[in-house]
Amino acid sequence: MSHPVVPIKVYVAVFLALITLTVTTVGVSKLELGEFNFVAAMTIAVVKAMLVVLFFMHVKQASTMTKLFVVAGFFWMAILFVFTLSDYFSRGWLPGGKWW
């Protein structure tokens, strides 16, 4: 079966990592780091999300086809962000244009 039973200690380890990262992200947000506050918070969020996807959602042991679907979902969201933001943030770059 492509679905072996994962030992409880793996789930507990992931859980403890998630709690530790949550405490870390709250702690880091209290520091004055300027733009780095955003970078740090997002990096921690991405790491947490990956832990949940890989271990709680069993994508680590999933088939290649399932992994492709997972990556495709997030890739399409990246397209959404890149195209929308490049539109908004590049307005006014051309002569005669106005900031929206």
């Binding site: 492509s2 789930y11 859980f15 947000s29 997002m42 709680f56 959602m57 088939s63 929308t84 908004y88």
Partner: protein, 222 residues
């Protein structure tokens, strides 16, 4: 003759249109992830709108972020992570065909989901008392930011509200699972609904993992 022999060997949980149990499970998992991909894009649109307005109305954003209740937000993050653990353990219990642990872990997940929604209610009430709910009753101390702040509070309610709606749907689904488990509908050979609703529940947790820093933590320090 040979065909009916093969048919007799098929496990009872295997539907006739699948070759084997592995293929059957693979089909459910793949279908669920296709649905979750649409959910990623659904929430992605809101996150994108939030990113645009946050950078366009930077001053107003810093001003509104002081009204976010980091304590409740932080506790709720912990509650959701706990509920994700109990859900993961519930799926494990289902895999092993352990009925009692499955039911209790699902009940625990449901209770934790309820705690999250209860705290969310406290937070919404706080916003209502402070007149920070967008609409005719909206009041904002810093007059120069009033309109932009209303828009940002709208995004706060839209994003957390949509997330809470997913939690309510998830709570309903988990209740269904508890009833099904109590009626012996699951076995070590077939527990697909537990597995799929588990994926859904973890996805909702991931949405909150991003909502918490974006809404509550960023811009918290000025």
């Amino acid at each position: 003759m040979a065909e009916s022999d093969v048919a007799l060997q098929r496990p009872s949980e295997l539907r006739h249109h699948f070759d084997d149990v592995v293929q059957q499970r693979e089909a459910s998992t793949l279908g669920m992830w296709a649905f979750l991909a649409t959910e990623v894009l659904f929430f992605g649109g809101m996150f994108c709108a939030y990113t645009i307005y946050r950078s366009a109305y930077h001053g107003a954003f810093e001003s509104t972020s002081q009204f976010m209740n980091v304590t409740i937000g932080g506790i709720n993050t912990g509650v959701l992570i706990c509920s994700s653990l109990t859900m993961a353990l519930a799926v494990r219990a289902a895999q092993l065909g352990q009925k009692k642990p499955l039911i209790w872990l699902l009940i625990l997940t449901l209770v934790l989901g309820g705690v999250f929604l209860g705290l969310k209610g406290v937070e919404y009430h706080e916003k209502y008392v402070e007149h920070h709910v967008p609409g005719p009753g909206f009041r904002y101390a810093e007059a120069q930011y009033a309109h932009q702040a209303e828009l940002l509070f709208f995004l706060y309610f839209a994003m957390t509200g949509l997330h809470a709606l997913h939690m309510i749907v998830g709570a309903g689904l988990i209740t269904t699972l508890i009833v099904m488990a109590a009626r012996n509908r699951f076995s070590a050979g077939w527990y697909t609904p537990v597995d799929m609703i588990g994926l859904y529940w973890h996805f909702v947790d991931i949405v909150w993992i991003f909502l918490f820093p974006l809404l509550y933590l960023i811009g918290h320090t000025k």
